[in-house]
């Protein structure tokens, strides 16, 4: 429900600064996912919003009111932890109702609420069980139910699915997506898994090294990454990077490197032309390379296929392009033999260029 604003948020442990001035605004009822590799500061940011970590500098505003001096319980939020953080000595019903009991709500209200959220997450038959007698997925649901029961406006998730096995994770992810549509809350979700980020988020915030790299809708981040880090982080299999140089020949922009010589067209060509440095990194997603024997060599890559990874309808080919490795996603029906040298047409709208030194997108 409420809006949240992080204003120049800084976290230091002793002399080490781990968050360098995070600026972020989360609108009402938005599902924001903070994503990044380990140690990027995403969990720390979340824990600062929760009030579990002190704010070293800057301020957190909830509905334009500063909250960084408040205790967690005064911040109107609920949180789901990575290890679920259930109270082992209480049964499911007691776990769910703990916050309500502390708030001394009337018994009838507590019972009704426990029943409601237990139904919502499918735990009705397990209310009398202790967490020790539940499976991982059930514990996860209890953690979710406990957070739901609080009825707070802000819902925080700290890698809630990372302790589950792959199948269960997919299932819980779907349930989470469903739940986020039903309950109107401001949700902030931390994960290192970009698939979770893509599937759940209204807005993704990519963090790295204590800085926000980019924020936007999943589509924006996937299609228009602002730098090489975001480009490489979002998308599976990851984007291919090839070092090359920009050249202008007969009025047309080319990017050439060891094993490739590619003509640019459209928007990206204009950007390349305007760019001052000639040293760039070419980025192409595996899905933007299409097997085409008769492709125009000026808009195609010629690759040596080394390994084919069959993953069902799609296969991922690991290929060599000069010294660099390139992954290509193809339909599994494509007739490919290992050791072949094949031509793949490059989808011109999928061509990304990054400055070699700054790593920013052109």
């Amino acid at each position: 429900m409420p809006t949240i604003r992080l204003d120049n948020l800084v976290k230091r442990y002793g002399n080490v600064e781990v968050l360098h001035g995070i600026e972020l605004e989360m609108a009402e009822n938005e599902f924001t996912v903070l994503v990044g590799p380990s140690g990027c500061g995403k969990s720390t940011t979340l824990r600062m919003i929760a009030g579990l970590e002190d704010v070293s500098d800057g301020e957190i505003y909830v509905d334009n009111k500063p909250v960084s001096h408040l205790e967690p319980k005064e911040r109107d939020l609920a949180m789901v932890f990575q290890d679920y953080a259930l109270y082992p000595h209480m049964n499911v019903a007691q776990n769910i109702s703990f916050a309500l009991r502390l708030a001394r709500r009337p018994k009838s209200e507590i019972n009704a609420k426990v029943k409601e959220v237990a139904e919502m997450v499918g735990l009705t038959d397990f209310l009398g069980r202790k967490p020790g007698a539940l499976s991982g997925g059930q514990r996860q649901r209890v953690a979710m139910a406990r957070a739901l029961a609080k009825d707070s406006g802000i819902f925080l998730f700290d890698e809630p699915l990372s302790n589950l096995d792959a199948k269960l994770r997919g299932q819980m992810r779907a349930e989470l997506a469903l739940m986020s549509q039903r309950v109107q809350k401001n949700m902030i979700y931390v994960t290192h898994d970009q698939i979770e980020a893509m599937t759940l988020a209204d807005r993704i915030v990519v963090m790295h090294g204590g800085y926000i790299q980019q924020q936007g809708t999943p589509e924006e981040l996937f299609k228009r990454p602002v730098n090489k880090f975001v480009a490489g982080f979002m998308g599976m299999p990851p984007m291919n990077f090839l070092d090359g140089a920009l050249e202008e020949r007969a009025g047309e922009m080319w990017v050439t490197g060891d094993g490739f010589d590619l003509r640019l067209s459209g928007e990206i060509a204009a950007k390349a032309k305007a760019h001052s440095s000639r040293e760039v990194t070419l980025g192409i997603r595996p899905s933007d390379l299409n097997f085409a024997e008769d492709a125009d060599p000026a808009t195609a890559l010629t690759l040596d296929v080394q390994v084919s990874e069959y993953i069902g309808a799609q296969s991922v080919l690991l290929c060599k392009c000069g010294p660099a490795q390139v992954m290509v996603e193809v339909n599994s029906e494509t007739p490919v033999a290992l050791g072949q040298t094949l031509t793949f047409a490059v989808n011109q709208r999928g061509v990304h260029l990054f400055d070699r030194t700054s790593e920013n997108a052109l």
């Binding site: 579990l52 949180m79 932890f81 703990f98």
Partner: protein, 303 residues
Amino acid sequence: MRTAMANRLTPYMFMAPAAIIMAIALMYPLGYMVWGSFRDWNPSQTIGEAEFVGLKNYIFLWNDPNFHESLIVTLKFAFFVVTIEMVIGVGLALLLDREIRGISVLRTMFILPMMIAPVVVGLMWRYMYHPTVGTFNRFLDSIGLPRVDWLGDHALTSVIIADIWQWTPFIFILSLAALQSLPRSALEAARIDGATAWQQIIHIKLPLMMPVLIVTALLRLIDAFKVLEVILVMTEGGPGLSTEILALRISRTATEFRELGVAAAMSNYLLILLLLLTVGMFAFNRWQEARAARLNALVEEES
């Protein structure tokens, strides 16, 4: 065939020396004591010369008001000592379970009393309790309060205080270890759920520490029944029988009254008492393990 047999015997061969030493060092004296307790036995006699009297020693003690008195003193001592030590020890652990400057020095200091030999503790406290030159009475003098007859009228209280001073650290370190192994995230969840510091202690910390606390209390209880040196040095059981706990009475029965049979019988009563406590502790552990196993089985069944 032969190798298989030898293989099966190997572990027992390795265990044999330890088993033999255990038998000699533990079972032999114990058996000797039980055997002796059925005899009217004077230290100048060998056990063979002593007259066999059956349960006479046990029956005598059962009806002996002095033994009753001693038993009551022991129970009183153990109860107060363990209760107060638990409250203070756990309280200190709750207070010191945080990261502040110099906390490790502070923790070490709290543990020091436990490292001092009991005889030294007894001597130290005897001097501090001394009616005229002792620390406490001199302090009372200096602030104009009347002196207290520490080891006279209040002897039992005084020895209880000394024991608390020495053994609270034991409970403190075990509680602190229990506290620090609590799941951090559950406590964070409690903070988010709105629990105050006090509510966190009542609803989360203490219930989760309970298994450790119960075992700690039992260990201390067993120890408290056997305490000897501190009281021996401080009061020698006096005045009257007011601080004559069982261990002390046993030692005096054997050395002063020269009644080894009665002393042995008394030891056996104490042993039975301690056995009951120990069995209680084991039963509690077993019950907990069984419960955990049952829960795990339940989960496995479902998944």
